[in-house]
Amino acid sequence: MTAAQGSSLARDRSDDVAAAARTRIAVQRLVKRFNAGGRDFVAVDDVSFEVKQGEFVALLGPSGCGKSTILNMVAGLLPRSGGRILIDDDAVETGKVNPRVGYVFQRDTLFPWRSVEQNIGYGLEIAGLPKAERARRVALAVEKAGLTGFAQSFPRMLSGGMRQRVALMRTLILEPEILLMDEPFGALDTHTKLEMHKTLLDIWERERQTVLFVTHDLGEAITLASRIILLSARPGRLKDDFEVAVPRPRDPVALRETAEFGRLYSHIWHSLGEEFRRTRAD
């Protein structure tokens, strides 16, 4: 970690966003083939895109378009069949973890045998951070996630939304500069989802991590992202790329009333709709 990253979670990165829009993630001609039942099929077909410093990019597409597959290859969880992925000009190697990258799963991957604070502190614990410093940072994160009073609870005592907050803080406490999120709010009900959007926006608008966010929910993509990359139905190909010029700070509820939201929604919906119809025609 560099000194510039500092120890405060509440640092402001908005200045360097404007200054140096350097490329953090570069996906180049990415291909993924799977072998299912003796038959090859292409899940991701020649996908290229870039994510710049401080950008919040949503990877949007119908189910089965390979968007999670792309994310898993960026994280190094899944081997590629072709193409290259660079993070800060370093080629991603499968199975090798990049400490600058944080990952949030769709599925609940909290450790059920650890309390909320033990879950949040996991990464710091295995990094060997002294106990006192760990406790200080964990307490801060617990408060930031709105989980005060639940620090000693085990995950099963929490609601789905609270569990996903813990998962988010467990990743954010390691201060990753790049965040990969795989439909993290996909399993939540609408109300909880909007609350989580607010939490995430609050954090991101302060800290401006570089985010690659996979979702099939158009409203979610417009609410959160500064750019939306649209993928086609299987095999996943790049279909379109939209700027989301909605000003910040955004309010996930009030935003839905704005003209810009409606305009973008119907514009992208048209494009996305074609893909949904194609999926159904399969």
Binding site: G102, Y103, T109, F111, W113, I126, A127
Partner: protein, 282 residues
């Protein structure tokens, strides 16, 4: 209609009293009241003793009757207390070695496909041998002392714990492992912080039967060849056709079995307190 606790305890005590009364006086009463052919042989004190005789034997074997405790203990090197101590000690060591080695082997084979495939057939084959058939061999190898009893208990415990740990280690959530790795956990850290806690629920499911099996193993070992212990006490009493002394040993074993099960349960509900069924009432 749900019965209150008092009602349940009342019936439990009533059943106990009924059994004790029939056991104590049933044979004499039926001899006095019924024609000879209908007297139930099962109640003959020659075979099953009776509570008052068992109590007297307990006092005598335990050196608690008139005659002085110290002198009596000195005069009998397999007195009840010493025999209990020996059996308990051997059960404990057999249980400990059996479960530690079972857990270690289960984790190793559960986490390595290669080892699991190499050793799989051997383990299935060895597990198919009725363990009791090996006891004479074990005594031949380890002699009449404590070691052969510990080895017998080990044989019985090992496989039970091994199979459960093996399944538990295989059932670990892949995404939880991926999450740990993405937060920087090494292979060993994953084993320590994810695989072992996660497999613990499976391990404990086997420890409860394992502790009873350990006791069975030791007793059988003592039956077949030993100089001391509760099993030896039974064999000696059998040689003298003394049913009440056998009953004393049987009751002591029953209490040992209960105590060991309570100890394992207590440990289990502490270590697995994150699971709903072991939730501590607030």
């Amino acid at each position: 209609m749900p019965k209150s606790r008092t009602v349940i305890v009342f019936w439990q005590l009533a059943i106990l009293a009924f059994v004790l009364v029939v056991w104590q006086w049933g044979f004499e009463w039926s001899k006095a009241l019924l024609p000879k052919a209908y007297v139930p042989k099962i109640l003959d004190p020659y075979f099953v003793a009776k509570p008052s005789l068992i109590w007297r034997s307990f006092l005598r074997l335990g050196c608690l009757d008139a005659g002085g405790f110290a002198a009596c203990i000195k005069g009998n090197d397999n007195n009840l207390w010493f025999a209990t101590f020996v059996t308990l000690k051997n059960t404990w060591w057999g249980f400990l070695f059996g479960s530690v080695s079972g857990i270690a082997a289960g984790l190793m084979l559960g986490r390595s496909d290669f080892l699991a495939r190499v050793f799989g057939p051997y383990i299935v084959a060895l597990n198919s041998i009725p363990r009791i058939a090996l006891v004479p061999l074990v005594i031949l190898i380890f002699g009449l002392g404590d070691l052969s009893k510990i080895a017998t208990a080990w044989l019985v415990v090992f496989f039970v714990v091994f199979f459960n740990t093996f399944e538990g280690a295989r059932a670990v959530d892949r995404d939880q492992i991926a999450a740990a790795r993405l937060m920087g956990a090494s292979e060993f850290t994953v084993l320590r912080t994810v695989v072992i806690p996660s497999a613990l629920a499976w391990v404990f499911a086997s420890l409860l039967p394992a502790v009873s099996f350990a006791l069975i193993g030791v007793i059988v070992g003592e039956f077949i060849g030993s100089e001391r212990g509760l099993g030896k006490l039974i064999i000696e009493a059998e040689a003298r056709a003394n049913a009440s002394e056998m009953m004393v040993a049987i009751f002591v074993m029953m209490f040992l079995g209960i105590l060991l099960a309570i100890a394992v349960r207590a440990l289990q509900s502490y270590l697995l307190r994150w699971q709903p069924q072991f939730e501590q009432p607030a």
